[in-house]
Amino acid sequence: MPGQKFGPAWFPGLVAGGLGICGVLLIAGGLRERSPWAEVPEWIRSARARAGIAALVGGLLFYVLAADALGFDITGVALLALWMRLLGASWRVTLPVALIATLLIHFAFYKLLRVPLPWGVLETLAF
């Protein structure tokens, strides 16, 4: 910015410079210790953990994209059911917990805390 000695770019510039230096030092340290370029985490060998991690991340993305259209309740129940089943819960546990937990969270946040959670396709049922 003209006319100013310490403008808006000054601080981020300083931080970026520091990050650059640290990056070089870390790479140098890694080369010296001959550490491998990349390592595979241990959980990759467990099918249950793999499915769980993928479903967690994918499910959150799905919520971001679909919650407005489908509404909180449908998305919430679907995600809870998916996650619990993949992590190994039985259907007998999954179904009631998914339903009750979603409704409870909805009620608590919508009614008591007045957070406008999306109703989506259930708009007609809104209370």
């Binding site: 910015m1 100013q4 000695k5 310490f6 403008g7 808006p8 000054w10 601080f11 981020p12 931080v15 970026a16 520091g18 990050l19 640290c22 990056g23 030092l25 870390l26 340290g29 985490p41 241990e42 959980w43 467990s46 249950r48 953990a49 769980g52 991690i53 967690l56 991340v57 959150l60 993305l61 919520y63 971001v64 919650a67 407005d68 909180f72 919430g76 995600l79 809870l80 996650w83 619990m84 992590l87 190994g88 819960a89 546990v93 917990v97 937990a101 979603t102 969270i105 946040f109 008591l112 805390l113 007045r114 957070v115 406008p116 959670l117």
Partner: protein, 500 residues
């Protein structure tokens, strides 16, 4: 402090609604603390969306109570599962488990509870005594002093943490970069907004913290879902038996642990987990029987157990007086204080005296409540630790989604939570500590503002940062923190112990 203020504060706490909130938060904190993988910081991050809609005193009270309970409850699975319930118990998990194996589980659990209470009360006493007088000094501070305080906080977050200091610096710089996002900078110039409206106001911290402290922790628990939890057999009868004897036998350990804990807590940036590591190491160093450490010896548990609970209260000193968090819990609390109109800073004791003294009373109350509720939690430990992870983790994640959404009623909060959850997970897995990044985000704006205005006042001369007496002293103290990794090496505190 006048009697009128105190009685006003007393009635604020005695409100049945506040007492109910305290009780509910206590139960919540005990549960979160006792389940490995759920931490006290996570409890705080999850509470924020709920406290959003409460009056100031119950909102703060819920966080104070839940964290105090959680730090104690972290000792329970240490004894029974050899897994710390929160990172603050990691320092003496092996010791506590060894005691259980020797048939002294009752004693280990009891001293976890008893010395947590005493340590917590010690930290609270220091907080009540020190914060108001410190505030009077702080009234005279200029941008130079604040600049050094912020740097001191950031430096202690990096150099007191366990692990590679270089990675701590990277984490810190990342946090500062995130903080410099948006319009809110001294020049009022939009930075890194890429023309996206949501980015112009800067990134909202609460969804970021829910991501980094809760979502990343859930991801880690899911990655470990195949590891079974094996409970050690322990007969649990009267756990308070023998506590008085231990108190008389180890008064020095109790005092030293509480004092070190409060100091580490009050030092901006370092919190309960580091306090416990330090106190455990000090205890071993000065013990008359250091050879017994590691074989199931109570001494280190007493000192470190008092230390981590006292650190909790100590961390509130810089948070209330300067708006500089003492640990990652108060990093979240500061945001809540602003939302509730209790802006931290030296004037808080004038403008909001009743509310602040009410918070102090809640500290005392929470530590006293810990005795009956903690005993109940120890009795219910086996049931709590049997809570099925495959049900618990998904429900907490759904709660995180709603919490991130609720701060701005915007789906962008969920995006932030996911993004920073992944960042936090990858960072921790590769040895980059998260606390410095959070501190950088909280303090970034303050650092830049005080740095730029100091530089403008001094016309670019760096020497001016040392010219005022307090600023100079703070500057020297900050530089001294840089030597801590060396001291640690000589004291042989492990450089890196991951929470398992």
């Amino acid at each position: 402090m006048s009697g009128a203020v105190l009685s006003q504060a007393f009635w604020l706490v005695c409100d049945p609604y506040v007492l109910w909130v305290i009780l509910a938060s206590a139960v919540f904190g005990l549960f979160v603390g006792a389940v490995p993988g759920l931490t006290a910081t996570m409890a705080t991050a999850l509470l924020v969306p709920v406290t959003f809609f409460m009056p100031p005193v119950p909102a703060i009270a819920s966080i104070v109570t839940a964290t105090a309970m959680a730090i104690f409850a972290g000792d329970i699975p240490s004894c029974l599962l050899r897994m710390p319930g929160t990172p603050a118990s990691a320092a003496y998990t092996d010791e506590a488990y060894a005691m259980t194996k020797k048939g002294q589980g009752e004693l280990a659990l009891g001293s976890g509870l008893w010395f947590s209470i005493l340590g917590g009360l010690f930290g609270t006493a220091v907080l009540i005594a020190a914060a108001p007088s410190l505030a009077e000094i702080a009234l005279k501070f200029s941008s130079f002093e604040y600049f050094w305080l912020v740097v001191l906080g950031l430096a202690s977050a990096v150099f007191l943490a366990l692990g590679n200091p270089l990675k701590g610096v990277v984490s810190l710089l990342f946090g500062l970069l995130v903080a410099s996002e948006g319009l809110d900078n001294p020049a009022g110039f939009p930075r890194f907004t890429f023309g996206i409206a949501e980015l112009a106001g800067g990134l909202t911290l609460i969804p970021i913290m829910i991501g980094m402290f809760a979502v990343s922790e859930i991801l880690r628990s899911v990655a470990r879902i195949d590891e079974p939890w094996e409970m050690a057999q322990a007969k649990i009868g009267n756990v308070m038996h023998g506590m008085w004897g231990l108190t008389k036998r180890y008064p020095m350990q109790l005092l030293r642990g509480s004092a070190v804990g409060t100091a580490i807590g009050a030092l901006p940036g370092a919190g309960a987990d580091i306090a416990a590591w330090m106190s455990y190491a000090i205890s071993k160093r000065f013990s008359r029987e250091p050879e017994k450490f590691g074989t199931g010896h109570i001494e280190g548990i007493i000192e470190a157990g008092a230390s981590n609970n006292s650190a909790l209260a100590g961390a509130w000193i810089p948070a209330l007086v300067f708006g500089i968090p003492g640990d990652s819990i108060t990093a979240i609390v500061i945001g809540v204080l602003y939302i509730k109109g209790l802006n931290p800073g030296p004037t808080i004791f004038m403008n909001n005296a009743p509310a602040i003294y009410a918070v102090f009373m809640v500290f005392i109350l929470a530590n006293l409540l810990m005795l009956p509720l903690g005993l109940a939690a120890i009795r219910a430990a086996k049931q709590m630790l049997r809570a099925p992870r495959e049900v618990l983790l998904p429900v907490i994640l759904l709660f995180c989604i709603v919490g991130s959404f609720a701060i701005n009623n915007s789906i962008f909060g969920v995006v932030l939570m996911l993004a920073f959850g992944l960042v936090g997970y990858v960072m921790e897995e590769n040895g980059f500590p998260i606390a410095p990044a959070i501190l950088g985000m909280v303090l970034g704006a303050m650092l830049e503002e005080n740095f730029i205005s100091s530089m403008i006042k001094a016309d670019g001369s760096l020497l001016a940062f040392f010219e005022r007496p307090i600023a100079g002293a703070l500057g020297v103290l900050t530089l001294a923190v840089f030597s801590v990794p060396l001291i640690r090496r000589t004291m042989a505190i492990p450089r890196r112990r991951r929470q398992k």
